[in-house]
Symmetry: C2
Subunit: 416 residues, 2 copies
């Protein structure tokens, strides 16, 4: 189907769903998807096999083939995810901030779905199900566009989702898929601002940059995660070591891993040798500033300006000695990606200053940067992470897939 016609049909389905999409119906759809996945397991794996074979022939990397694969375990994961989302509270319909104005009418706000959400992602078929499920639970409709190397897998998953919608008496246009292979179809999707209300791109920085440049629709995104751990002069140094190690090595390939360690000059001589050798024992390559190398030089590469903005996603750590908290904050606000930053300190006033002045979406005191995650924060599920300033920051859950409208209840009130 042509992209504009598809977007229009999804928009129509969304408007009908405003009435039809009670919590009960939405949960029934999610459970029907979960059952459909269980029933369709064989067919899913067969369709996925086609994508994997084509990917192997096309020379996709091992990491890409791994992300593309629909294993038994991954299908189980999707089945459970739908059940979990069904069990979450429904964010839609809540009325709040309802006040009576002096003239006697009431004004308040009601949580409502955003509308039609466009999801643009790479060849990870589980996103097809997980993103659709979160959008359905929050009353939104979805236009999906996944990586072309996952097309067979995605179409099989969309078939299951559409069957679940029809089974529950809902227009199956509520979830649409842009299946035209050309990149022009994506560009076309990004200007459907009459019918699509939000774009969430998930993938590498170049994909996201292209989406932002082309889109006339608002985009929620994060380009990258350059997360900092700052060891303040008043830090408990044992805690600082534990948090640094956890931030860097527990799972280095994710966006909330620590990429830069900032050490206060007052404790650098004591902290750096112990910490950097412990990191090296764990296989971490250290890239240090001049002052770091003056204190501890064993196998420490000289850091360049590029290291301060690098998202390594690997066992590499940039290390800089800073003069004081002001210097640390200035470094983070200048070089950081507004994702997640941690301070290690015992001092209340210092922790407070860091919390107020660091301009990132998550600011943490005395805990690992790795905590910044929808599940850990208690959101129940996560559709993505935003390092933007508007609407949603940091991990985005169901609540962040809703917006509000103003509601007014009068009794014949006019404006004089």
């Amino acid at each position: 189907m042509e992209v504009k016609a598809l977007a229009r049909a999804v928009h129509e389905a969304y408007l009908a769903f405003l009435d039809q999409g009670t919590t009960k119906v939405k949960n029934e759809i999610l459970l029907a998807i979960s059952e459909g996945l269980a029933r369709g397991r064989e067919e899913l794996m067969a369709e996925n096999r086609k994508d994997l074979d084509a990917g192997e022939r096309a020379g996709l990397s091992k990491a890409m083939l791994d992300r593309l694969a629909l294993t038994e375990k991954r299908i189980d994961g999707m089945i459970t995810a739908m059940q979990d989302v069904a069990a979450l509270p429904d964010p839609v319909g809540r009325i709040y901030d309802m006040n009576v104005r002096p003239e006697g009418f009431r004004v308040g706000r009601m949580r409502v779905p955003i509308g039609v959400i466009g999801i643009i992602y790479e060849a990870r078929p589980n996103v097809t199900v997980e993103a659709s499920g979160l959008c359905i639970k929050s009353g939104n409709a979805t236009v999906l566009r996944g990586g072309s190397s996952a097309l067979h897998s995605n179409m099989a998953l969309v078939k299951i989702i559409k069957a679940a919608l029809l089974e529950c008496g809902v227009d199956d246009s509520l979830v649409g898929y842009v299946d035209t292979p050309s990149r022009d179809a994506v560009d076309e999707m990004l200007v459907q601002d009459e019918h699509i209300h939000l774009i969430i791109p998930r993938g590498g920085e170049s994909l996201i940059r292209r989406v932002v440049e082309k889109s006339t629709i608002p985009v929620l995104k994060h380009y990258k995660g350059v997360c900092h751990t700052y060891v303040n002069e008043k830090a408990d140094l044992k805690m600082a070591l534990r948090l640094t190690l956890n931030g860097k090595v527990q799972r280095p390939a994710v966006c909330n891993a620590t990429e830069t360690l900032l050490v206060d000059q007052a404790v650098a001589a004591e902290f750096c040798p112990r910490a950097l050798s412990a990191l090296q024992e764990q296989g971490v390559e250290i890239r240090g500033c001049e002052r770091t190398r003056a204190i501890y030089s064993k196998d420490v590469v000289a850091a360049t300006e590029d290291d301060w903005t690098a998202e390594y996603l690997d066992l590499i750590l940039a290390v800089k000695i800073v003069d004081d908290i002001d210097d640390a904050i200035a470094h983070i606000n200048r070089y950081g990606s507004a994702h997640t930053e941690t301070i290690v300190t015992r001092d209340i006033a210092t922790a407070d200053k860091f919390t107020r002045r660091v301009d990132s979406s998550s600011v943490i005191v005395n805990a690992t940067t790795r905590l910044s995650d929808g599940g850990v924060y208690g959101l129940g599920a996560e559709i993505g992470i935003s390092t933007d300033k508007l609407h949603a920051r940091g991990p985005m859950g169901l609540e962040e897939l809703t917006t509000y409208k103003w509601i007014v209840q009068g009794d014949g009130h006019i404006r004089e």
Copy 2:
């Protein structure tokens, strides 16, 4: 100054203001601006005279010259506005939704400024002061770009704002102005996504459309206001008449005036003749659908498809007879601009259905569309109106000029 360098300087000033911009300092700046305006009255009017003379020579319309003029009354208005904003509560710094997670750390959210806000507007110099004042109170920095025909007036106002900032010990780059006359400067401003975090365009639809197309920075906007009043079959018809008249004639040139009247077919024969003749008595031109004209034809022009999407901003009203509430809702969601819609009805279930299903930023029961306004809603001040779905909808006040960040307080917590 070159646009990129200007944006960078404003961003630097914003980051310093995160620490420095206490409520006390922000209010002192606002009062200093107010005093500066009072002291600078003569110079302001002299500079404004240059713009008015040039505008007259260039053949600007009477309406445009009126908006451009800085009269004594308008200067008084700006002086009072700064005092009023100083008296409003400060939205920044509030911590909320703070919960303890099972592992024992706390996770919550803190209201914080958005960052650097770009305001692009036409030749209305009072916007220079009012937008800057609201941004300062909410802790934001501002890059202003006003219409070129108001350049002398705007530079005189910016001089007063910058003097007030310096007087309070704050970097005067907190409010910057793009004074390069060419349109290229605006395009350049719209891609400074590293330093500008939100664009608010204020002006006609073509200006806003251009901004949305060029911008890589999020934009909050409303293209137009096509507001509906729907007279339900269960309406109190006397109330319906009062609300229709108020919605259309009390101030027809504003975005929350009623542009389309929808009448339930069950009450059309009784309501239309009385209502339409009363509207005509007030000088309103009626453009009716076929069914309307079958009931009341005196001086009723036949409405075309274009009338359903028209923002007249004038004494013209489109009138359509609808089958029932579903038909009314479908018409609004299809042709409306997501601004403000009113239902007149005595029936609770009908009011509730309208409230849930109409997909606009303000949905009103039994009151005029003209109520949708920041002042009337109790926001204290209004920087603009959004018909977008993200971040802020409807009237935007100080709270809507803030965002949140996640704050986490641990005690050495790591991720296992």
